[in-house]
């Protein structure tokens, strides 16, 4: 039984979430192959070869895969699918984009966002914004699965897998990459940070997010936001934490000026320790917080920064 895991990367660096997706593959059990699809991505292939538990790295290095357009990557993965019983990708925007296409082309369902593996055909996944946890058994011969990284612990990276180049180059020709507008940040990735500090509508404007910077610097934290803060244009879309944004589970999550709507909680309530700073003692965020401060964030944040 073999498992194909799609590697998340930006042609330079393997994303650490892939290590968690490989852990999910190990929980299923079988020979694990990692697929690196990209362009000029040999550095990623090298890193991929070190991922523990992986026996083979397949590298499809071609201009057609540079931006990992769903139309092209799904054709590549479908081409490889015959050899695998399970196909896994991390439930990030790339995997979410192309994997259902793979499933449909193989005429099987997709099981999205699994957080647990019960057996080779039975998986655990949150539904209704994490307010219910479903255990589902797949009846399909092939399982196409996206993995929520917060559900699994990363595997180590002192392995030594065989690297095989595959000269598959499929360009569907129906879509074209135009441009990227990527957020440049020195801070750790939201998904990978052990501390996350997020601001909500209570921050009032984008400028005030600077109040989070000093604290984030001291704690090595990533900065997140609620939907309301993103919608209002305070910060970029990629900072949204929640049901329909990023899912995080750091050791420490600090929610500042965030009320704690179910959609926000869905993205952070598995954090180990939650701190809430909110001036409204009735805000629902306090129901999930380990430590709360009822107060004005404009007083609390400078003091916190000074005392860390």
């Amino acid at each position: 039984m073999s498992i194909l895991v799609f590697a998340e990367h930006d042609n330079n660096e393997l994303k650490s979430d892939t290590l968690k997706t490989v852990a999910a593959a190990q929980a299923i059990g079988g020979d694990i192959h990692l697929l690196v699809a990209g362009s000029n991505c040999s550095a990623v292939a090298e890193q991929a070869a070190k991922v523990n538990g992986v026996s083979k790295v397949l590298v499809a290095d071609n201009a057609a895969y540079e931006h990992q357009l769903a139309e092209n990557v799904s054709l590549l993965v479908t081409d490889l699918a015959a050899d695998y019983e399970h196909i896994l990708a991390t439930a990030l925007t790339t995997g979410k984009n192309f994997m259902p296409r793979v499933a449909a082309m193989l005429d099987v369902a997709q099981i999205s966002d699994i957080i647990g593996v019960e057996s080779a055909d039975t998986f655990v996944r949150p539904i209704y914004a994490g307010n219910a946890i479903a255990t589902v058994q797949s009846l399909d011969s092939k399982k196409v699965i996206t993995v929520r990284s917060t559900g699994f612990d990363a595997v180590a990276t002192d392995g030594n897998a065989e690297v095989v180049n595959i000269d598959n180059a499929t360009d569907a020709g129906t879509s074209r990459h135009v441009s990227d507008e990527l957020t440049v940040s020195e801070r750790p990735d939201l998904g990978a940070a052990s501390v996350v500090i997020s601001g909500g509508r209570g921050m009032q404007n984008g400028d005030n997010f600077k109040l989070l910077d000093g604290i984030a610097d001291k704690l090595g934290a990533a900065i997140g936001a609620s939907r309301a803060a993103v919608d209002a244009g305070f910060v970029a879309n990629d900072m949204q934490v929640g049901q329909t944004g990023k899912i995080v589970a750091p050791d420490l999550y600090i929610a500042v000026g965030i009320s704690g709507a179910i959609q926000h909680l869905a993205g952070m309530k598995d954090s180990k320790v939650i701190v809430a700073i909110n001036k409204d003692a009735e805000a629902p965020i306090f129901q999930v917080a380990d430590y709360g401060i009822v107060g004005d964030l404009f007083d609390v944040l400078p003091e916190l920064e000074a005392k860390l």
Partner: protein, 250 residues
């Protein structure tokens, strides 16, 4: 240009769902239902394309039992021209929904199909991509901007690192993200007008597709609940607790 908008009836996003005591599923009895928020954004985008003179007709389609006609009427009140209900009592996998939608696409030949990126009940995030695969069309998922330009559509997508813009040949499939637009409220006169707009009912069984389920729901359990912690009085106390009690900072 025809625009097709598949919409789903789901639990209202304000309602916190409860798991049934026998762990067979969630309890939807007497729960407020609504149009899936991402589908509402899809309807709004289609209606704006019509108002801009780009689209000529907006068709809303929903697959479900008779109750989803309520959400189709909402779509009509928001500005869709006509609606199609595909009747079924079954709770369908996204793949089967996509297969039924494929038939509608074949029949209606829309140039643009706008879906929500995700149903807030199943949290699947699959149907648009699957429909794209089945129809062989390009896709622009998680859209925050849609610009039709001749025989192409430019879609700006919300991705993990920020934004990405792709150009798709029409016909194409778009799935909506939260920032695409802010849906309007249906006015009373438009709600009245919507009652007279055409709503076709078709039976899912008549499409000749094997709709058997692809998975079995073995059980549904409540998530582990967090206990509310303590309220600290001062920042000093917070820092002390984080250092010595929770040991998450040093």
């Amino acid at each position: 240009m025809k625009v097709l908008v598949p919409i789903k009836r789901v639990i209202d996003y304000n309602v916190k769902v409860r798991v049934k005591a026998d762990n067979t599923n969630v309890d939807l009895a007497n729960v407020k239902m609504a149009i899936n928020p991402f589908c509402e954004i899809a309807v709004e985008e289609a209606v704006r394309l019509k108002e801009a003179g780009t689209a000529t007709e907006v068709i809303a389609v929903s697959i479900g039992d008779k109750s989803c006609q309520e959400q189709l009427r909402t779509a009509l009140a928001l500005g869709a021209d006509r609606a199609i209900q595909i009747e079924t009592d079954q709770n369908l996998d996204s793949l089967n929904v996509a297969k039924l939608l494929q038939k509608v696409v074949e029949e209606e030949q829309p140039q643009l199909i706008i879906l929500g990126k995700q149903s807030i009940d199943s949290d699947n995030n699959q149907t648009g991509q699957m429909l794209a695969a089945l129809t062989g069309l390009p896709q622009g998922t998680f859209a925050s901007e849609v610009k039709v330009d001749g025989d192409k559509v430019n879609v700006t997508r919300e991705v993990d690192g920020g934004l990405q813009t792709v150009a798709l040949n029409l016909p194409a499939i778009v799935t909506t993200d939260l920032r695409l637009n802010e849906p309007r409220y249906a006015s009373l006169p438009n709600i009245m007008k919507a009652k007279r707009k055409p709503l076709d009912v078709k039976s899912a069984a008549d499409f000749g597709i094997d709709l058997s389920p692809r998975s079995t729901l073995l059980k549904v359990t409540p998530p582990s609940e967090r206990q509310a912690g303590i309220v600290v009085e001062t920042v000093d106390e917070l820092v002390e607790k984080l250092k010595n009690e929770a040991k998450v900072i040093s």
